[in-house]
Symmetry: C2
Subunit: 110 residues, 2 copies
DNA sequence: AATAATTATCGTATCTTTACGATCAAATAA
DNA sequence: TTATTTGATCGTAAAGATACGATAATTATT
């Protein structure tokens, strides 16, 4: 991200940006869609569905996990990933509120 | 974005990612908040409010414009920016639908 | 006309992201 | 035990993002 200046922004704005950034790649959107549509959260299934290298998928999963949107559980040699519903609700509320609040600029400007 | 493989994802996923990416920086969140809260969309006002260099703000404005979330109108020497309400509604609907659809993973996984 | 104000763009340095192959660690199978 | 599967991590290359100062272009002011 180049030189970062996150400290000059509000906590809320940083939170929103962090969630949005996690959603800011089509591969991660596709992964989240998979996690929601099927109950099959096995990492290998994701790798099979999305034409990216296994290491790349693993990297995207890590970012989603870091952002708090998903969580993984070891099941033997495999790993089961799923959406972290609690954090998901937080993200949904934060983004939803933000998107809703920014209406009504009206016709008096621009 | 490093090497890009946007072509392997659906149009919808790319659209979502593009909007989310535009929101993926606290400075841009702060700018959008300003554009919504006041009617003052003058570029100079934004530069005064946010402690970043003028060129940096201009760059963020350009990205928001490229993403389609805002539009600018020249007013003499100044430029008036405001939220593009039409595109905003599209983004809100797309993100909203996505965020809403991804619930109900349930307790049977993870 | 000359100066000042306003904003975009250029050039640049630095850090981050994306993607891949290779490798490692842990669990399972042979 | 040895081999295989599974997924994370390392190393790395290429591209993008972030930030700044300097400069250019346009309009407004003097």
């Amino acid at each position: 991200m180049g030189i970062s200046k996150a400290d000059i922004f509000s906590r809320e704005d940083n939170l929103l940006a962090r969630f949005a950034k996690a959603l800011g790649h089509p591969a991660r959107i596709a992964i989240l869609r998979l996690l929601a549509q099927r109950q099959a959260c096995i990492c290998g299934d994701i790798v099979e569905e999305i034409p990216l290298a296994q290491s790349t998928i693993s990297q995207h999963l890590k970012e989603l996990k870091t952002a708090g949107l998903i969580k993984g559980e070891i099941e033997g040699a495999k790993v089961c990933y799923c959406i972290d519903e609690e954090a998901w609700e937080v993200a949904k509320a934060a983004l939803g509120t933000f998107l809703d609040s920014n209406t009504g600029c009206g016709a008096n400007c621009c």
